[in-house]
């Protein structure tokens, strides 16, 4: 593919709001995970909650979108000057020429979960103030973003579970290549809710401690939440040092709804496709941000796929011990972490991981260290066997 410029980007997770807080936490090897005290949830697990989400007040004209997910979306859009960068792009290109491609797994479903506690005792009806379209529906995030910027062009939500906000980069890149748009808001927002907390617990996939990606004793995920966005434009005017999207690769496991292909076949196909798309070889990659959820199955399968393609020659880590697994936001959050590794010259470590799984033969980095990766690959895999790998680089 023709490289695309990330002309602005931002991420907010339990590590803090924005690029500075994220970078400081990554450099310090700090985790944002804490014992679960979300809403009325009673589970023995750790979570990555973003501070101040419910203090966000949506603009008066957009109140019908009010829910935790869109509050976090607003927080994300108003961080690191991202909304100003988008408005400048709209001025350059026009309201119909800036597309929206955002990923989420559960959107504002928390709003429905809460509404079900307030059903009419006689009729069973949901309360009048509950707005399905603007909160629960997966498109709510995209429609909120479209209305927030008064855009008039194409918009879609991608919802492929935990690969959602990686796949948005590929979808946006296609439309930019076709010339149907001149800029794209890509990103992902997912927020804590009962469905995912109790759901992952029902599958026995949540850990009772902070998650330990690639650890020999790893025993499950820590669920997080996050908002991350990037503005993609053509790279004609990219200045030296700017971050570029170089390649995208997508595949399907075609194996199981909630377990990865045991040999990581789909994961390997996605990474291969991303390398092909970028016109690069395995040795051109200087850092891999792994999907690394810390479930026994994911890390074993992904580790096999990475070892098969990259051997132990490329520094790798999962940053989910720092951020938690932000599910549908993970692809975009980790894209921003890759961008920071490239621009700020470091290789992120893996808070929480202590003793590496000896069966996985890759160059897994426990501690953050200085480094000068020129190209970084990020993996995101989701339920239903949905895989996406992205490659980012620095403009020469």
């Amino acid at each position: 593919m023709t490289p695309l410029l990330l002309s602005a980007y931002t991420a907010s997770t339990c590590l803090g709001r924005g690029l500075d807080a994220t970078r400081a936490a990554l450099l310090a090897g700090r985790s944002g995970l804490a014992p679960c005290a979300f809403e009325t949830v009673q589970l023995d697990t750790w979570i990555g909650e973003v501070a101040g989400v419910d203090e966000q007040i949506l603009p008066a004209a957009l109140q019908h979108y009010d829910c935790r997910n869109n509050r976090l979306a607003l927080l994300g859009l108003q961080t690191d000057g991202f909304d100003q960068a988008v408005r400048a792009a709209i001025n350059r290109h026009g309201r119909q020429r800036v597309g929206i491609f955002v990923g989420t797994s559960t959107s504002g479903i928390l709003q429905t979960e809460l509404a079900y506690r307030r059903r009419d005792p006689i009729t069973g009806a949901l309360p009048d103030d509950f707005n399905y379209r603007c909160t629960h529906n997966s498109f709510s995030l995209a429609e909120f973003t479209r209305d927030y910027f008064a855009l008039e062009g194409m918009a879609m939500a991608v919802s492929t579970a935990c690969s959602s906000s990686a796949k948005v980069f590929a979808a946006a890149a296609r439309q930019l290549a076709l010339g149907t748009i001149d800029a794209a808001i890509v990103g992902g927002v997912d927020t804590l809710c009962l469905t995912t907390l109790y759901g992952f617990a029902s599958l026995e996939l949540t850990s009772n401690r902070p998650c330990r990606p690639y650890d020999a004793a790893r025993n499950g995920i820590s669920i997080g939440e996050g908002a991350a966005f990037a503005l993609l434009e053509r790279a004609d005017a990219a200045t030296a040092g700017a971050v570029l999207l170089l390649g995208t690769g997508e595949s399907s496991d075609a194996y199981h709804m909630s377990a990865p292909h045991p040999e990581g076949l789909g994961a390997r196909m996605a990474m291969d496709a991303a390398l092909r798309s970028a016109g690069l070889a395995a040795d051109d990659i200087g850092y891999i941000n792994l999907h690394g959820t810390a479930t026994p199955a994911n890390d074993a399968a992904e580790g096999k796929a990475v070892a098969a393609l990259f051997g132990d020659r490329v520094p790798c880590s999962s940053t989910k011990g720092a951020t938690g697994h932000t599910l549908g936001a993970a692809g975009a959050v980790e894209a921003v972490i890759c961008a920071q590794a490239l621009t700020d010259g470091f290789l992120p470590g893996s808070p929480g991981t202590e003793l590496l799984d000896p069966a996985i033969t890759i160059d897994y980095r426990l501690r953050t260290s200085p480094g000068t990766p020129r190209r970084a690959l990020s993996n995101s895999f989701g339920f239903g066997g949905s895989n996406c790998s992205l490659i980012f680089g620095v403009a020469p």
Binding site: Q96, R119, N137, M156, S159, T195, E250, S252, M257
Partner: protein
């Protein structure tokens, strides 16, 4: 502001799949859309997803069944090998009945939900089951755009056809919610539309379509029963296009997408 270039996206349709209330497959829909038979009111009929292993077949929701059925019909119509096809799934929601059961349980004193209910709750459940059924390891996209799902799916599918140069199967489908969510999102029944889109003309091609953004008003259908379907179920916003394909007419149609942006489509039968 830069000069707006409105690039047309072009592909060849090689196969069509269809299920809607009273219209159990594409041949029957084609007859009604040509005006040769009236649309008789009847609930949607869903075939048993025979390709799925027994466990998945038992767990398959109405939403999964409709997606698999129309996708397989379109692929069979085109004589395509489903195991090789890239796919784009577009639905306005995940399985409504499963969602209702989860929300009801999460509002009760016993929140220990079933793991199968949880993994079936994801928006991409039908896509996951499709992969298990067809063994297709090609890229698989899953989109939500509320009422604009067909248009959003078509845009992304055409992107894959034109940029990646690969045949892509678009499957747009929707299913109803039970009460009390039905009152908030009143979809009447389950329905689905599938189009197998190819980057070049072949002996299988049915028609060439070219899609551009427009601000025109969407076409409606003169038959009130068909127009009610177009309006009532998001995937069936495709009906004006399908009507033209059924009649084998050259010309253009406008489909509802995301106001003020609509999709203008020129259709050239092969």
């Amino acid at each position: 502001m830069s000069v707006s270039t409105n690039t047309p996206l072009t592909a060849w349709i090689e196969g069509i799949g269809f299920i809607a209330p009273g219209l159990p497959d594409w041949p029957s829909a084609r007859t009604v859309l040509r005006g040769e038979q009236p649309l008789l009111p009847a609930p949607s009929v869903l075939p048993i997803p025979a390709l799925l292993p027994p466990a998945e077949r038992r767990r398959a929701s109405r939403l999964i069944k409709v997606a698999l059925a129309v996708g397989l019909e379109a692929a069979a119509h085109a004589g395509a090998d489903v195991a090789t096809l890239a796919t784009v799934f577009a639905a306005s929601g995940a399985d409504g009945h499963n969602c209702h059961a989860l929300c009801e349980q999460l509002a009760s004193d016993d929140r220990q939900i079933s793991p199968t209910r949880f993994h079936n709750s994801v928006h991409n459940a039908a896509a996951g089951y499709w992969g298990i059924a067809t063994r297709a390891m090609a890229p698989c996209q899953v989109i939500c755009a509320y009422d604009a799902g067909f248009g959003a799916g078509l845009i992304d599918a055409l992107g894959q056809v034109v940029v990646d140069g690969q045949p892509t199967l678009l499957i747009a489908y929707d299913s109803e919610y039970p009460q009390p969510l039905h009152a908030k999102r009143p979809l009447p029944d389950v329905a689905g539309v599938a189009l197998l889109l190819a980057p070049a003309r072949s002996e299988r091609s049915l028609a060439c379509i070219s899609v551009t953004a427009t601000s025109s008003t969407a076409d409606t259908l003169t038959d009130p029963a068909l127009e009610a379907l177009r309006n009532g179920i998001p995937a069936l916003r495709a009906l004006p296009l399908l009507a033209r394909l059924a009649r084998g007419e050259t010309g253009s149609v406008c489909l509802d997408y995301l106001p003020p942006m609509q999709l203008g489509i020129t259709v050239q039968p092969c």
